[in-house]
């Protein structure tokens, strides 16, 4: 049995761990509110963007001459995957879930004999992927320094992707991120951004007759790169809300577990203290009797 002193030390160490997890939970909760707000505020932009692109792509007459970003290169050999994770740990299954989803996809690609290229956004994703897929990672990006998620960071990632596309380094591009549903649930998502999937065509939008200035193709070729940045930005916003949510519930669990541990240790401490007292009493009494 551990001595009284050891128990005391353990209790105090668990207690200070609990303090830290509690504080982290509070911080995550505050950040979560902000992240959620900005995710909601960012929605109109990406929704409108999507709508305009849908209208435009419906209006395009000549499919063969459509911009490559929309129709693809016509091949399906090289896949680029942008895996978006957090820069910090201690957020439960957040990163692991994205990686798991991504790995399934990677396996599928490799089994089909296609080439895989990976861009990691966030350091945690790189750490988890470098062992198995180290050779496939062509770029790693991290925004550790920027405090808030801003559009220009997303734009940077978007520009890298587009540059690589123009150099014909890949045919299909997919992004991986966590979609925020609520504090407990985040759903890992796989979204193809190049070529753009326009399967969800709105029936009501196809009837509109728009005037385009300049021509549809020209607007589209300007708009599509922006759309990629927008999609990445949206993914980043969703991701940050998910990260904070995930961290909050993870830290909540940790705080609760620490509480249970303190309770158990306290009982053990009290028991052994009582045992020591009883032992001393017996010693005194038997000592007195023998006189």
């Amino acid at each position: 049995m551990a001595s009284l002193d050891d128990l005391k030390k353990r209790i105090s160490s668990v207690k200070s761990t609990q303090k830290i997890t509690k504080a982290m939970k509070m911080v995550a909760a505050a950040k979560l509110r902000r992240a959620q707000e900005s995710a909601e505020k960012g929605r109109p932009y990406s929704d409108k963007m999507n709508n305009i692109i849908l209208n435009l792509s419906n209006g395009i007459s000549d499919i063969d001459n459509a911009p490559k970003l929309l129709s693809g290169t016509g091949e399906d050999k090289v896949h680029l995957c942008v895996v978006m994770t957090s820069d910090r740990g201690l957020c439960g299954g957040f990163n692991t879930n994205i990686i798991k989803k991504a790995k399934l996809y990677f396996q599928k690609i490799l089994d089909e004999g296609k080439t895989l290229k990976i861009i990691t956004v966030g350091t945690k994703g790189y750490d988890q992927l470098k062992r198995l897929y180290g050779d496939n990672i062509i770029e790693r990006i991290s925004f550790k320094e920027s405090k808030n998620i801003n559009y220009f960071d997303a734009d940077k990632v978007g520009k890298i992707v587009i540059e690589k596309f123009e150099k014909k380094e890949f045919d299909v591009c997919a992004i991986f991120y966590n979609q925020f549903k609520n504090v407990i649930t985040q759903i890992p998502q796989e979204q193809q951004i190049i070529p753009l999937k326009t399967s969800e065509k709105n029936e009501n939008s196809s009837e509109d007759n728009y005037e385009f200035e300049p021509e549809e193709d020209e607007i589209l070729s300007n708009l599509l790169p922006k759309n990629i940045s927008t999609q990445i930005f949206k993914a980043m916003l969703e991701n940050s809300a998910s990260e904070q949510g995930s961290r909050m519930s993870a830290m909540d669990n940790a705080t609760r577990n620490a509480g249970e541990m303190v309770d158990k240790l306290t009982i053990e401490y009290n028991r052994s203290r009582q045992a020591a007292i009883t032992k001393e009493l017996i010693e005194i009494i038997s000592g007195a009797e023998s006189l």
């Binding site: 709508n51 005037e211 200035e213 300049p214 927008t230």
Partner: protein, 130 residues
């Protein structure tokens, strides 16, 4: 009959401005300035760097935009832009900052004509503000 329609300006971070009593909006379209009045035909266009002017009952407002797309439909004007600044409370330093980065960009050798054109436009507009 009222001559008013509604306009909404969105940037990636948030909905920047929303008004429903505007009478005319002048936007820097890629092929020249476009003034939009009520019951304009549905139009999609994109913008070059320039000044958006919004005329409404409550007065006139001007904004600087870096780029953008506009969509006008059923008397609703949506403007999507990545960077927008209100000219009223504009910050001289910020302008110089954008100006400087544009100049740097212009000095790079690997830009195409369209980019060069846009950057020239940008610098011209920025100089006129400052």
């Amino acid at each position: 009959m009222s001559e008013e329609y509604s306009v909404e300006i969105v940037n990636p971070e948030k909905s920047f401005l929303s008004k429903n009593d505007v009478t005319e909006v002048v936007v820097p379209g890629f092929e020249g300035e476009i003034g939009i009045l009520k019951d304009h035909i549905s139009i999609i266009s994109f913008l070059k760097p320039g000044i958006i002017k919004i005329f409404s009952k409550s007065g006139e407002e001007s904004f600087y935009v870096n780029d953008g797309i506009i969509e006008f439909k059923d008397n609703n004007l949506s403007i999507l832009t990545s960077l927008i600044l209100n000219l009223k409370d504009i910050d001289k330093e910020k302008i110089s900052e954008i100006q400087k980065s544009a100049e740097e960009e212009l000095n790079k050798s690997d830009i195409n004509d369209q980019e060069k054109y846009l950057l020239d436009q940008k610098l011209e507009v920025l100089k006129s503000i400052n």
